[in-house]
Symmetry: C2
Subunit: 360 residues, 2 copies
């Protein structure tokens, strides 16, 4: 591990997360290193497979930096898979052709659940090596975000054995055997906290917890089975590294109804999907947290004028920046693999230009 990295040239993203004044609204895009970029597809082809790409620090570094070479994005995010932690727990992550992630050994019964153990972090060294290498090669251009899936979101894949339309297996366990579900979630929360702390040790300058499937839970179940465990993770995170604050972002897709509660778990910022009105969200959370979001990714299929117009709507919805408020522009979900790359240029320029003008 290097003892020092290059000083940060653009800290706009970190300042926005900490609700400090910025000259413009910083932005990055969920899944910004991805299949919409031809150079990503070329690297992936050389790597031979998605896991071959994600598990190789050289390739992971290469694709993490690709969108930054094209666009004036204000943060980089570690390229990795959301399921590295359960893979390291021995569940056997694999990708079937044309399908999403799957596990060879999902948690289908009590015996499998009770055998679950937090992973040896050594088996995730490839992730931490990638973090250090990316941070080094970024050379201070923008901050590097580390990330993990939330304990609940990991549990969904671990019990279902892959994606799901209705989360029938994992929810049946939740309702029928809450003791087993809590055992999984406790194990996951501890593993996720250790995993994020090791990313911070390796060089991550902010961390994000993706609760992709929290919005599939009923009110009540969400608080008990997703939010409480994210609170646990946030409470275990190192928040300062060598005297520098490491901000933490939490994002429950479909969680807009629970915004006040999400804002209370101790994170610096809350991610929002596109169903949430930013002005109302800001009124609901006050100065407790910064907000990150929330353009509908499909807007990137529209023409440049429409993209600019929708960017302006999002910025105006958040409203004039002022002391104590922080906004990081993002999509409300990952960028589509079919996005025309030139639309992202329009988006990035529009966010920077319009938000600078709003600060007049």
């Amino acid at each position: 591990m290097p003892t020092s990295f290059a000083p940060l040239k653009n800290d706009t993203f970190l300042r926005a997360l900490m609700r400090q004044p910025t000259e413009y609204t910083p932005l990055w895009l969920m899944r910004q290193a991805g299949r919409y970029l031809p150079e990503y597809c070329a690297t992936r082809a050389r790597a031979g497979s998605f896991l071959g790409l994600a598990k190789n620090p050289d390739y992971a570094t290469e694709v993490t930096l690709q969108p930054l070479d094209r666009y004036a994005l204000d943060a980089a995010i570690l390229f990795s898979d959301i399921l590295t932690v359960p893979d390291a727990m021995g569940l056997g992550l694999y990708f079937a052709d044309g399908e999403g992630p799957k596990f060879e050994r999902p948690l289908r019964d009590e015996k499998a659940v009770m055998a679950l153990r937090a992973p040896d972090l050594g088996s995730l060294q490839y992730v931490f090596d990638a973090v250090t290498q990316i941070r080094t090669e970024l050379n201070g251009r923008v901050p590097l975000i580390g990330f993990s899936g939330s304990p609940w979101t990991l549990a969904c894949y671990m019990v279902e054995g892959g994606g799901s339309d209705d989360f029938r297996s994992v929810k049946t366990m939740l309702y029928n055997r809450p003791d087993l579900m809590h055992h999984i979630l406790r194990t996951n929360a501890s593993a996720v906290a250790d995993y994020l702390n090791a990313q911070i040790d390796a060089g991550a300058q902010a961390v994000m917890i993706f609760d992709t499937w929290g919005g599939a839970l009923a009110d009540g179940a969400y608080q008990q089975f997703s939010l409480d465990y994210m609170r646990d993770v946030v409470g275990r995170l190192q928040r300062d590294k060598d005297g520098v604050r490491i901000p933490c972002i939490v994002f429950t897709k479909g969680g807009g109804l629970w915004l006040e509660q999400i804002a209370d778990i101790g994170a610096d910022a809350v991610g929002l999907d596109w169903t949430v009105n930013l002005a109302q969200a800001r009124a609901r959370v006050g100065d407790r947290v910064a907000l990150q979001g929330n353009l509908d990714p499909v807007i990137l299929f529209a023409n440049p004028d429409q993209i600019r117009s929708e960017v302006a709507k999002v910025l105006e919805s958040f409203g004039a920046p002022q002391a104590g408020a922080g906004h990081v522009f993002n999509l409300g979900h990952g960028i589509s693999q079919f996005t025309p790359p030139e639309a992202v240029s329009v988006l990035v320029d529009a966010v920077h230009e319009i938000s600078r003008n709003m600060r007049g």
Copy 2:
């Protein structure tokens, strides 16, 4: 069309929708006539196909009544497909094996959109015949609900040509060519209103508008492209038939953040999915509308004690019934085809028994 039907023996459902006192909380289940019932599967096998079932009034009547023979449900809902209207517009509805609905002629370009016309209601006569036949055979046991997809939800299928993960085609049209999208939605709204009014003429005693995909829209776009057109439909509905009030329910899945606005379009009741806290929802809408929902359908895979416990939570969340409040118990989404039929007995008995005791 018969000039009179048998008098209603159980009007609990209608009274709850009109926020009048009831002896217990009435319930019905979205998709209650469906594949989880072996007798439904038997009828469908005889019909040869889903469309053969849905388009034949005898079969439609038979499957509509099946769940009422098993369970003490408080309403029947017309068995039909959500896409009958665009099918009658000439888009060519079909079902590929093991897949959802598809259209042979989706609205992919300006020419196709501008050629769209409201359907000849005569081509939907099989639906109205089914309504009259079901109402006759119900013989006053419980009220019959008619339904339609919302203008936006129909448009999603009409432009995408089937189901979608990201609604990329329909949203791209929405952002790039709002004029074309509004043309589709105006046409749909007019057709949906005519369709529901004809169902009311044929014997439907309440109507429901399913906005299954409204929750896929961004804040702002939802109001403009889904809610405004549902308001238009509600405004065109006949609300009294032969001196009897015909209540109207609207349901946007994933629309919990917009509840106040949905409650203001003139409907009698608003459906809620399971992410919404009923106590908070009731505080937000006051006495403007009744509420319908909102058990997570996956709870029907749990054991009887858990089902009863979760039913109690939903009923207690709505709170003590009192003047001006109305609650119709339902799932937050359609019942899963994998639901054990005996779980529905537990549910129905629990709702009736616990809600009677709450009034005790």
